[in-house]
Symmetry: C2
Subunit: 190 residues, 2 copies
Amino acid sequence: MTHDGDSDSDGDGDGAAAPRVLAEGRFLRFIDERGWEYVVRPNASGVVVIVAMTADDRLLLVEQYRTAVHARVVELPAGLVGDAGPSAGESLEAAAHRELIEETGFAADEMVRLAEGPVAVGVAAEVVTFFHARGLRRVGPGGGDDTEAITVHEVPRADLRRWLAEKERAGAMVDPKLFAGLYLVMDGGG
Amino acid sequence: MTHDGDSDSDGDGDGAAAPRVLAEGRFLRFIDERGWEYVVRPNASGVVVIVAMTADDRLLLVEQYRTAVHARVVELPAGLVGDAGPSAGESLEAAAHRELIEETGFAADEMVRLAEGPVAVGVAAEVVTFFHARGLRRVGPGGGDDTEAITVHEVPRADLRRWLAEKERAGAMVDPKLFAGLYLVMDGGG
């Protein structure tokens, strides 16, 4: 846990000291709030993560190099809400539709909200919202926007664990949100 | 996505510029690496997350106020590896045993590794390792160390979604790693 003796010791968050900005990056703001350090993204209003399965039960996954871990990472399609000029102010659901098309080339008839929560609460304010994309149809090539280099995979669900293990042997990492998304869909949440 | 036009545009990570430290906190280091910003924890070698179910199928969960999101968060028991003086250099497995006891008061006969991966790769280098705690027995009160104020819950697995929904209605948030851990255990990974 990131903590120190100056923290609000009863943990109820009633401390009076204001958050202090330690550094302002171009995308992230680094904050110290009563001894707890974390980053926020001032220019995004949320993050959406999409569980998308084709009619023949293939899970759509994306793979891209991620600088923070110096490795390729296999993930569910995902993206920021309201980060680009034209998409500023969009809803979470609209962002999920947009990101699924941009990254995978598949459009969905419907986006069903599954769950929402913080994913790395010891270091970041980041809260992600999971959606289940229903009724997929291919409408484009996918692969992300101009600044992204994304490989799209369609992985038969029955073969998933073996496929992921092979990716890891080849040096890729796997984002555990993938497993959270599958649980949420399996568990009747969407 | 956190990115800009200066990034290694083919995404293969072969750019030559070294990471630049934008700010050094007490717990986190804020880095800019070829236009990608993220934080690392210099004083921890890993993060462990523990899926622990009692013999009568109750899932052990912890709840604590989390400054980064200004809310109480329901999570799997978890902790840093090698962050405290006495535990410096410990293994992931040893850290999982230690954190489970500290946070929940339950000891496990065995810790089985389930999976490992980055949880917020757009903002942090944080990689977590999931363990399945087998053979639980109560050995203490739990509740964390001196600086933590943790409430422990034993939630019947059949009742979990209803219980979590009630927590959310009361203002708490739920860390999706909880769902990832359950998927990994259910899916025969441990």
